[in-house]
Symmetry: C2
Subunit: 418 residues, 2 copies
């Protein structure tokens, strides 16, 4: 059982540009210190290579099924007709069905340590909202979740889960905040930008509340390194490629940074390449600009230097809602900039077809987000020499995404002919 | 990794009454030999204590996440306010979300070894159908599933999964078999009895087809002992109680028999008691008769000696569809008869409330079936002395059963007040 997280800031080959305030308006950096648990502010800026995982957090990690398995996908190899060895880390065993819980548990713990009694956040498809709702329940905190109204109406199961865990869930725009009331109409589909603003306003308007972010910030990636650290201890052979999908970067960073850091320090993984897989609907790493931009659509958080499509970019509505994000975490953006990380983007249909081939040959249906990594692995497996080794992170399962597969694929692609 | 299954027939303290034919009509025992993979007939009647798990089956067990975790439910202990130690084996990590896959994989393997190209079965809520569909896909077999029409219309996600795995699924009664056509009307809800008859008829009407049963038969329990054998190696302390729910008995037998067998042989687990938890909707162990009866509603299979509510008993429509069965496997019935197994029955609402308390304190939402074991454990934990140890089998998760929880519970019970 891993007892510390890995912080890649200690090993970066260049300087990580710090967050900064825009030229006008109130200080966003000062705002951060008012809404985030204080330990997370420290973690955001620390250069320490290793950060101890508090015993209470490790206890929860154990109870929710950590360490998660690392499996060999021999059936998928056969289905692809490849001699490449394919391994995957499987985060779908966690009760919320995705890696999001790893950081939600840590953040809820630090919020409680600050004396908070309530945490608040935004959620799109509901994965992050489920993770925060459960983490809050496990630490005896109240949770309030602003869920984009279109998801609130369509992702009923995750909504039920959040409430069953004890969370209060508002469709966003809501009538609970100023921001919400400004945008409110019963048929407004909502956006993550509005929902973030609502959650932050909600935190600022009450006592002993903290805001919990689901990705992009460096401490989120830090907490997720439990995935990669476990994987390093489980892998029977050194990979030629380590692959993960990218929304804001927490799944990718959490899985690859421990290996990538070892490579940067010259302590192994010398031959390993790192491949970030994004959605063609939000291709920041392959088609974005490297510059300062807001991480949120409405510009209430500090500017960070990253690959971005612009904070007002609205990705087309793909089923991999977790990848519909305009930017990538600063450390990931820097590593891409410096050539230590490769990137590729795929379209929705090819990705979901690859995921179905995986499900038929291994059993697990990948979440639409994780399906992007599966597609990239399938392409690598077809072109790498026999005996090559590829490992990827299956960040979540698709058990609550069956409707998405039904909607995205035609009958003949969804249902294999016997 | 376990390399053999445990057969309790070798250690039973009494004689297991063999299956027999009814006084009239064609031989049902002869029928079994025509529809089942031949190795399974052997396994049904063997007295060997240990049956080797074929390497191909073990390979699939590894790929789908075996060994599954054994976890300590410390959060649930705190929520109950008990000093009893509660452990649980968690079968929900398997890709179909329940233990059903353990035997489906073995049965598909033996069907293929017989030269079969296709397997067929019936399914109610869809767990067994999903398991057979995946197992068939993994061994390159065609699968045909007869799904009760009411479930076909209401359990859409499991239907999509079965088809995505490559199975052909007919709503039953169907127009594909004589039996189906006899009962067919578009609004007929179907029954497991009719669906079994359809699957058997379908197998008999074609070449190189085999029928795969989901529970009750002794070889099904045998395959499921992989659960209990793993648990014995994972448990840090000997339990006072081992608990599992009972539909036909495969989850209960699979989990408890390895421990119970050791107890019968005087090789440990001397203090362990074994508690079978059934649904008040189908209380065969607590209120049934011990006698010969048909395992299927229409009487096409051989008579077996068991606790039964009568093969024509129609349980009320509870959400734990997997427990809506009129009888219990012969070995389990005998062990109950001889006092080696205790039994208790619970109603649906109290069970689902206990499951929600579990989800709020551990994260995992139990399947409605497994929720019965959770309720029994909660009651044990409240009455046993501090330091007692209880272990149960969480046979599956409830991620695809969210609708059932919504329908079964009122808002205030489903959603904890903050």
């Amino acid at each position: 059982m891993v007892d510390r997280w890995y912080n890649i800031a200690a090993d970066l080959p260049g300087v990580l540009a710090p967050p900064k305030d825009p030229d006008e308006g109130e200080s966003r950096i000062a705002l951060l210190t008012r809404i985030l648990p204080s330990a997370l502010i420290d973690q955001e800026f620390t250069a320490e290579r290793w950060v101890p995982i508090p015993e209470e957090v490790r206890g929860v990690y154990r109870r929710v099924g950590r360490p998660t398995p690392l499996l060999r996908a021999e059936g998928f190899e056969r289905a692809l007709g490849t001699k490449v060895h394919i391994y995957y880390k499987y985060e779908g065993v966690l009760p919320v069905g995705s890696h999001k819980l790893n950081t939600a548990v840590a953040q809820a713990y630090y919020a409680k340590a600050d004396g908070a009694v309530e945490v608040a956040t935004e959620t799109g498809a509901g994965q992050w909202g489920m993770a925060v709702s459960l983490a809050a329940a496990l630490f005896g905190l109240k949770a309030t979740v602003f869920m984009t109204r279109s998801s609130y109406n369509s992702k009923r199961q995750r909504l039920v889960f959040m409430r069953a865990y004890g969370a209060t869930v508002y469709p966003s725009p809501s009538e609970v905040t100023e921001t919400g009331r400004r945008h409110f109409r019963p048929d407004h589909p909502g956006s993550l930008g509005i929902a973030i603003s609502e959650a932050v306003e909600y935190v600022l308007s009450g006592e002993r509340r903290r805001y919990l972010p689901g990705s992009v910030l460096e401490f989120v990636l830090l907490h997720q390194t439990v995935i990669g650290l476990e994987a390093m201890g489980q892998l029977p052979e050194e990979p030629d490629y380590a692959v993960a999908c990218v929304g804001g970067g927490s799944n990718f960073g959490g899985f690859t940074y421990p290996m990538l850091g070892a490579k940067l320090r010259g302590e192994g993984f010398g031959k390993t390449k790192f491949l970030a897989v994004e959605s063609a609907a939000a291709p920041k790493l392959t088609r974005g600009e490297y510059r300062y931009d807001f991480p949120d659509a409405t510009g209430i958080l500090p500017l960070i230097k990253m690959y971005t499509l612009g904070h007002d970019y609205v990705p087309p509505p793909v089923h991999a809602a977790g990848l519909r994000y305009h930017g990538a975490a600063p450390s990931l953006s820097l590593l891409k900039r410096l050539g230590h990380v490769e990137a590729v983007a795929y379209g929705q249909e090819e990705v979901m077809e690859a995921a179905l081939l995986f499900a038929r040959s291994e059993g697990f249906l990948p979440a639409p987000e994780s399906a992007h990594a599966v597609k990239a692995v399938a392409d690598l497996a077809r072109k790498l020499p026999p005996g090559s080794v590829v490992v990827f992170n299956m960040s979540g399962h698709g058990l609550l995404d069956v409707d998405s597969y039904e909607k995205a694929l035609s009958w003949d692609k969804l249902y294999k002919q016997g």
